[in-house]
Symmetry: C2
Subunit: 356 residues, 2 copies
């Protein structure tokens, strides 16, 4: 090893789901939205005056923040935006989790949380979810340097109710609690209603799922003025201009009243497809968790998940398989269009999935 390599931060990165170049695949592996973005997004891009690209974008992303404020009824100084919710979460971990006590997270949850902790050398504890993949509140009442919970959780697709978060926050006044609601719109309840009561609560959202803009990289967070101000200080110590000028226009367009109506309809469609998927998959011998997200988490009674994963790939259907303890016999399947799901069921039948 060269001498300079001794100073290198060595990390094991998060591995995102595959993005196959072949467009003729059915892609149910990264929890993308099967429907296109709102028409206003297309219009915003078409009419974007590219001559302004010579100038830096607004460093405070003011118009996007104002649009979020309007859509979510949260004051502007309680809103933070970033390059997808991953950027928002990475900045939050860097900002808020600087104590010596471990940050608490589940063993089965978004697998980027421990990657960020490792990256920034933050002590953390992965606490096993219970046998039903649910959070046990008592596990999160021990001394800690922070808590991060996804709700709905991924890849389990399960949610915890309002009471869980109220008690969690009530008993954790000494550390920041992050609730990652990337899939929140498919559930319907948001912890943002608790913001007025807890200064140490950060609620994170994204445009990648219910707003069908994974390609535009827009994430956001709501929190107390203090929390958002600290977060902005770190963001401005990292990169003054994180949000592309076109992206800002895209985000704004996606929040217009008309766009919100459009997305509401799409979300309802995805929820309906998800509910029918639970039934269809049960009929094919799968057990699914009670998903409140835009994906299902399913295990088959006979055929190993890995085998189904590989055979589906031969059928040009991509789903997500995690070769990890406790979940290595599960598949995470994104809810596609009804047509895509019909193709999925057909392929599963061909693979031999049936009720035993």
């Amino acid at each position: 090893m060269s001498e300079w390599e001794k100073n290198v931060r060595r990390v094991i990165p998060y591995v995102p789901g595959e993005q196959p170049a072949d467009v003729n695949v059915i892609k149910l592996n990264t929890n993308e939205n099967p429907y296109p973005p709102a028409p206003a997004v297309c219009e915003a891009v078409k009419k974007f005056d590219t001559s302004v690209l010579r100038k830096y974008p607004a460093p405070d992303a003011k118009r996007l923040v104002a649009a979020l404020s309007d859509a979510f009824e949260i004051p502007e100084d309680q809103i933070f935006v970033g390059v997808g919710s991953d950027d928002v979460l990475a900045m939050s971990v860097l900002t808020f989790f600087n104590g010596k006590k471990p940050v608490l997270m589940a063993d089965v949850t978004y697998s980027f949380y421990d990657v960020w902790a490792e990256l920034f050398r933050i002590p953390y504890e992965s606490i096993p979810l219970n046998g039903d993949f649910r959070y046990e509140l008592s596990d999160y009442l021990r001394p800690n340097g922070g808590v991060v919970i996804a709700n709905p959780n991924a890849p389990t697709a399960l949610v915890e109710p309002k009471e869980f978060f109220e008690e969690l926050l009530e008993k954790n006044p000494s550390s920041v609690v992050i609730v990652d609601e990337a899939y929140g719109d498919f559930y319907g309840w948001s912890a943002k209603g608790l913001l007025d009561r807890y200064e140490n609560l950060l609620v994170v959202g994204t445009f990648s799922k219910s707003r069908s803009l994974a390609g535009s990289r827009i994430g956001f967070a709501f929190g107390s003025r203090k929390l958002i101000s600290y977060l902005n200080d770190v963001k401005f110590s990292f990169n003054s201009y994180t949000m592309d000028a076109i992206t800002l226009a895209v985000g704004e367009a996606a929040l217009s009243p008309r766009s919100r109506e459009y997305y509401h309809t799409m979300t309802e469609m995805i929820i309906a497809t998800r509910e029918s998927a639970k039934k269809r998959l049960a009929g094919l011998g799968f057990t699914c968790t009670d998903s409140r997200a835009n994906f299902v988490f399913a295990t088959h009674s006979v055929i190993p998940a890995k085998e189904i994963f590989e055979k589906l790939k031969e059928h040009k259907i991509y789903v997500r398989y995690f070769d990890k303890p406790r979940i290595d016999n599960y598949l995470r399947i994104t809810i596609g269009t009804d047509d895509e799901m019909t193709e999925l069921y057909k392929a599963l039948e061909e693979i031999g999935c049936r009720q035993s």
Copy 2:
């Protein structure tokens, strides 16, 4: 202070130049390009199929990397891309500067370097440039955990020659040397020619200056395969998808042979305006450094820089003033169009700037 605040990373952020909302100002304060992006950029945006935004962008930014590879004749696995060169530099500081010895940087240079060091709690030393604002090579031969040098330097606009970097690299095999060439195209020489000889060299560039795409947030770095691989590991431990799908298309369009020709012409125009600016400003009583960037660094023989800065603002002309030791009687003035510069000279005359 609340208990949770004790775990917060407190930092003093970098303050970028103002982005006034008023479009009727002459903006010479953030080293933006006065000319619009290449026509191909506009076409790429207009014809962009927004329906693909529902999907995540290519996490490896493959097509943009391929276009950079083609334009700069650097193999693809020696190229890293990020959200502007600030993102590239922040990731590089995080990746490469993990030793216990101080990272070496100049006292008068891009003022984000020490902000990143503070953010990531990396020891560093600000070494005074000599009386002519030039680097003294001997200062950079002491034991160190890394070196970061801007060439051309900002805000001084001065450059060091090839021989300086050759000797610097020859004598610093034990740490990573970052050469920040944000303004490199206005100089003409690049340290990338030294990549084959030094595995520990990282050369950083941006689309924000010579490519007139500050609004699109695209930066890049060239380095050895090893260096780029380490950098990618950290990037993928931070955010899988940093580059917006539209931004990737914009970047690719900006690198087509036709676009490169366009940008070459614009760069030549800016250099010509810069050279005439040096003369005109001298005639108005300023002393300028021998700028090789798209800005000049000027001090007036009689009127304090801060006063000129404020009076220019009243004339709706924004330049950059740094209230910092050694440079608090200097202005950093971005090279605008010839018309904008004529307005500047006129305003300076009105303010009372003349040869004494």
